[in-house]
């Protein structure tokens, strides 16, 4: 058997050997090897010392409070009295995993992009209505007001907005697709406890 101390990767064999957690055949080969290898013997003695020192750090004499369960159940009952949205919010983070909130965040982001998309779709109508009223307004309000400026600027505005709108829509759709892909690969609430 090669000396485990020669390689950093196999040094954990000594840990397992010390804990007697190796398969029987490896354990037997290690017994033979350790009898011949002074490096391993030294390392083993040091590891055994740590192992027994850690054994001294015993928590079995710890007196767990007799009302531990009662306090826990009281907290559970108290939580049941909380409003539904508070409980839902808590259960979102209950698994203690940093990514547990990701599905909700993705959904909110998708909803946000959808709202933005709707806003952009409605924008050209609003702008063209505005420009129409801008064209008509001087006529309706007063014949004295010069109509040159609004007539010239309104079509320009509409053209720019139309151009921008298409770009924005494309971008929003791309964002939406990307977020859907990200939302699909993220871990769901049920997966938060998965490895």
């Amino acid at each position: 058997m090669n000396c485990p101390m020669q390689s950093h990767e196999t040094a954990e064999i000594l840990l397992d050997y010390c804990a007697r957690a190796l398969p029987a055949d490896t354990l037997a080969r290690m017994d033979v090897h350790v009898a011949m290898c002074s490096d391993c013997r030294q390392q083993l003695a040091a590891q055994k010392m740590i192992w027994s020192a850690l054994d001294e750090f015993d928590a079995s004499d710890l007196n767990i409070s007799s009302d531990f369960d009662r306090r826990l159940y009281a907290r559970i009952v108290a939580e049941h009295r909380d409003p539904v949205w508070v409980r839902a919010w808590r259960s979102l983070f209950a698994s203690g995993q940093p990514g547990a909130w990701r599905p909700a965040f993705s959904m909110m982001a998708v909803a946000g992009v959808a709202v933005l998309g709707l806003f952009l779709v409605r924008l050209p109508d609003a702008v063209s209505n505005e420009s129409k009223s801008a064209v008509n307004a001087p006529v309706a309000i007063s014949a004295e007001v010069e109509t040159e400026t609004p007539v010239k600027t309104a079509p320009l505005k509409t053209a720019t907005v139309d151009k921008l709108d298409v770009e924005h829509l494309d971008r929003a759709l791309e964002d939406l697709e990307m977020l859907q892909v990200l939302g699909g690969t993220g871990s769901g609430p049920g997966k938060s406890n998965a490895l």
């Binding site: 010392m49 710890l62 559970i76």
Partner: protein, 198 residues
Amino acid sequence: MSVAAAIEHDAQLMLRVRDGDTASFGLLLERHRVPVIHFVYRMIQNQAIAEELAQEVFLRIYRSRATYEPTAKFTTWLFRITTHLALNWIRDQKNERRQQSLDSEAPEGTAPLQVADAGPNVEQRMVTSARMDEIRRAIAELPDKQRAAVMMHKYEEMDYQQIAGVLSCSESAVKSLLFRAYESLRSKLAHLNRSVSE
């Protein structure tokens, strides 16, 4: 009960909790209460806070019962939550201490440990107590993840794969964490070995 049967039993109990059977939650609590409290206690070395954090662990288990899927060992999930809470507490304590700049002689997050009477006389008890303090300090000085890995490896007898699952890292990272942790403990506690042999 065999290990495999125990794993399946835990998952079955948790599935029953998911279906609204609170008695099964009581059984899970009965099975895992002590290991969780002991683990947190060894991590933070304060019994009152260990119990408080253990309560939070079981509360979180109960809260997320509706979304539970038995895709991993129950204990991996349980200790992932436990480790997460313990490491968060340690981090918060560090930040608090840094802000307050407390001049404390005791190591981080520690309270005097209750040591069982090991010897018949005062001198022996003092020696045991001092030795215990050394061990406790050496463990407390380990980086948080190394400490958690040692606690799981030594006391919970978890294998590398399960520790990796709890700490969300690779098995080789766990081996490296453990190797460095034991190396560090060996160098810090080497004098204990000498004093015993002398």
